[in-house]
Amino acid sequence: MTSHVLADTCVLTGRSLRHILRSPDTIITTAVIPIALMLLFTYVFGGAIDTGDGQSYINYLLPGILLITIASGISYTAYRLFLDLQSGIVDRFQSMPIARSSVLWGHALTSLASNMVSVGIVISVALILGFRTSASPGSWIVIVGVLLLSTLTLTWVAIIAGLAAKTVDGASALSYPLIFLPFISSAFVPIATMPGPIAWFAENQPVTSIVDTIRALFAQQSIGSDIWIALIWLIGILVVAYALAIVLYNRKTTSA
């Protein structure tokens, strides 16, 4: 049975990728809010913000915007998983001789693919708005790697939401707190300008280390210890979220 994990995951990923290809609006709407925020901050607030590092504000802003893109994209994963559970198609899959985790992995891999497309759209718009980077191919690989890991981690958090939700609205509400997390971080303004307790929170929450890592990579500056803190956060949350999701899924599909 475990020998089918890969094959079954491929089949189910193909299924949900088809869903996305047939409603590409989910990719567009994922990119709309981040693009609107980017316009707002670049042209309305940006002039009044002094980041103190001499680079153009959109260069400073983009890493945070990319995380917001991912945070809004993963809510579709929770939504699609919830609908699958609701419609009974998960029951159908579970009553067949397939690898059990492949149902969740299909959604997770689809989330990676669709979020990377949304991130690509946002970066393209940023380039039009004046974003410039001197990142080397090696830096790009690390940037994409950090974004993929962030997506995977948040996707498994979203899978928990999809499994635990009682209503469609509940399943997709997860995004709102995640979208706001970057605002209380170094994503939009330097932390030094914030009052004590908020600065402490901003300094010690995962978004700051992720954003600082990506920003440094885009600017070809040294990334210091930020990347390790970011990786510890992401892998730590991923492991916990994955374990919780599997426990929840097994409970949901055998005892409720």
Binding site: R15, H19, S87, G88, R92, S95, M96, T253, T254
Partner: protein, 285 residues
């Protein structure tokens, strides 16, 4: 009361003994026992909330029982769920098809997940068998209720599982679609598939089933052939009543252009039933 004519060396296709299940403090199944012979149609009859769906979910490994055992083709549902899943298919109460995919893609999906060769070819065969060839490339979301259910049943039958669970297969269907599903179920049993179906309509059980069990408040209160169950009632009283066609007869006669007036579906069904009831032996084809 149950299967005394069973040959001793072959276990029944489905054996349920002492199954109990409660949701929080609410007992849903309180000790269910039943056996279903190979290749027979077994109807589980009960009103809403009687526990039919819960029992089907336990038998299809989607739910763990609190107590008791159940085996499918000799495999324990709790101890060997992987082997059970290879032996069964489930058609849920609410047609679980993927609405975004086309009918054909739904069938290919199931064939792939059952690890069969030539999934495309299997899908085409199923589309033809269930009269969906013309609609095969349309999204399942655009199908009518009857087409959806046919697709649902077709998806269940891919890979020819020896045991098929149909949870209220005709709920919400128009009379014509209901007849189609009945026809399919009969053909399945004729080919040797064991069918356990749940229903709340009495005539469905009467039309299809070799044995009927009545599930009431979590227990099987009666289990037998139609003839046996009928004997439980007071002796037949002969009355002369003018036989009016039911509205269903009228509807079917008006709608079904293919049937000639003297071979209505009703009389065909009667003939089939008579043939089936004449032997209570398990069919081992």
């Amino acid at each position: 009361m149950t299967t005394s004519s069973e040959s001793p060396q072959r276990p029944p296709a489905i054996r349920v003994s002492g199954i109990e299940k409660a949701f929080k403090d609410l007992p849903v199944l309180r000790g269910v026992d039943l056996e279903v012979e190979h290749g027979s149609i077994f109807a589980l009859l009960g009103s809403n909330g009687a526990g039919k769906t819960t029992l089907v979910r336990i038998l299809s490994t989607l739910l763990n029982a609190d107590a008791g055992t159940a085996t499918i083709q000799g495999f324990d549902v709790a101890g060997d769920p992987a082997r059970v899943r290879e032996s069964i298919s489930l058609t849920g109460q609410f047609a679980a098809v993927d609405e975004v995919l086309t009918g054909r893609e739904n069938l290919v999906l199931v064939a792939r997940l059952r690890h069969l060769k030539n999934p495309g070819q299997i899908a085409d065969v199923m589309l033809a068998r269930f009269g969906l060839s013309a609609a095969g490339l349309r999204r399942a979301g655009t199908y009518s209720g009857g087409m959806r259910r046919r697709l649902d049943v077709a998806m269940s039958l891919i890979g020819n599982p020896p045991v098929v669970f149909l949870d209220e297969p005709t709920t919400g269907l128009d009379p014509q679609s209901r007849q189609d599903v009945w026809q399919t179920v009969r053909r399945l049993a004729d080919d040797g598939t064991t069918v356990l179906l749940t229903t709340q309509t009495l005539d469905e059980a009467e039309q299809l089933a070799d044995r009927i069990a009545i599930l009431h408040r979590g227990r099987i209160i009666q289990n037998g052939t139609l003839t046996e169950l009928k004997k439980l009632l007071p002796p037949v009283k002969v009355e002369y009543v003018e036989k009016q066609p039911s509205l269903e007869d009228v509807f079917l006669a008006l709608v079904d252009e293919t049937a000639s007036p003297d071979t209505t579906l009703g009389s065909t069904v009667e003939a089939t039933r008579a043939g089936r009831n004449s032997d209570d032996q398990p069919r081992t084809s």
